[in-house]
Amino acid sequence: MFSHPTTPKGSRIFYGWYIVGAMFFMGLIGVAPRQALGLFFDTWSEEFGVTVSQLSAVAAAGWLINGVSQPIVGALTDRFGGRIVMFVSMIAVGIGTFLIGVTVNIWTLAFVYIPIVSFAMSGILFVPGTALLVRWFKRKRGTAISVYSSGTSIGGMLLIPFMAYLLVLVDWRATWMVVGAAMLLLAAPLIWMVLRNDPRDMGLMPDGDPMSEETAAGGMKASQRQGPLAVEAWREAYRTPPMWQLTATYVVCGMTTGAIAIHFVPYAVSEGIPVSTAALAFGLLSFINLVGVLTTGFISDHMLRKNMLTLVYGVRGLAFVALVALPSSIGLWAFALIGGASWLSSVPQTGALTAEIYGIKRAGTLNGMLNLVHQVGGASAVFGAGLVFDLSGSYTPFFIIAAGTLAFASLVSWMVREKACSARFVQANESA
């Protein structure tokens, strides 16, 4: 009879949760260069003698590079493992963030921000993190990825005021250097020290489950059972319907979140609502987003993930309907309340479902591809919403389109044959 030797007496916490904690911190501090960039536009505009539009172009180029780099980082993760990818990326982002503090003009800023910070940032956010966590968790995958994802939300809430106030206390150069130093001295060592690519590296099983005779005999294959559609090469996934279904829904996800992030406050202003009210509503949306992602992540571990995705997109669609159907002063708050609950919730569901259908071997690349199309969708919608407003003088037509696409995404999610494809319900040998 076999027993698992590595469950220490008195230790009730599965090691995977320490990994989630470390990645939560990585997300929390890692989003700073992206989310706080706008804080410094006015300062740089004066000091570098450039316009806000020129600085925005640097930010936009950075985000484009970040989008393109996602599949590359995913492939690197599949090849070398998430730990080294996240460690090296955090070092690069930390150095880049520190160097932003010594830039002398817009060109040096662009040189640091675009190829270094923006590229490396793909290596510390969702793609490698999800690919690593799906190895550590099976039954609690949704919860684990949700807790990890919430780090970026909390990071936005904590670090933006932190950097804003630090800017008042010291200057912009010291502010960036402090955050860069924190990444290099705190986050990077934490990643290296805590993260392990696979529970088997420590003789553990996913979720901390005891090792049975079957898993002991079967090793890796038994500890991570694959579904019937598990792939060896990422291209194989695109020969099956679920990958296209998840791609289609993620494009809609990017479109609807991207457009709102940029056009929410301008929409409110166009409806005669004060900026402060719109800002408060958007703040409420961000807070409910945090609650929503944690709740849906936990619940999804106890139900079909495709049903949760159906619900998430459906609820978000209802939020857009509220924005169109209700008077704008009420619709704004209704949108924040309803839409906030579904904002980030699609991320853990999509990441977990992809791994459960296509296996963990190419989880990084496939998540990278999904994130790429998400961002392409977001960029298209930002332009699209602006174009609609310029042509019609109102955001309403765009919001109607958004509600329609979300209904489509909800339907497509519901059509995913999860019970027939997911390793949660069927294993490769059973389906043969």
């Binding site: 590595t6 220490p8 470390a22 003789g203 940029i262 900026v275 800002a279 703040g283 930002v382």
Partner: protein
């Protein structure tokens, strides 16, 4: 507002108008200066990874000790399993 400012995944870039309003409201409501915001967050950012790193290290030590504590255990091939 930058036209391409939300290519990032669900990470809304800070809108200076929004942030200015938030900071102003925060100061108005709580009457706190910059240092009273910066110092607690800085302490949190410093303490959290140190504490987590220490706890994870302790857990790994326990796992390692648990692995070597079984007197009747026999290694069966390098994947951390032992047969009783």
């Amino acid at each position: 507002m930058p036209a391409l400012a939300i290519l990032a995944h669900h990470s809304e870039p800070s809108d200076p108008v929004l942030l200015g309003w938030l900071v102003g409201t925060f100061e108005e409501v709580l009457g706190l200066g910059p240092a009273t915001v910066v110092v607690p967050i800085a302490i949190g950012i410093g303490v959290f990874p140190c504490l987590l790193g220490w706890l994870a290290w302790r857990a790994r030590c326990r796992y390692a000790a648990g692995a070597s504590d079984s007197p009747d255990a026999t290694d069966i091939g390098g994947d951390g399993l032992r047969a009783k």
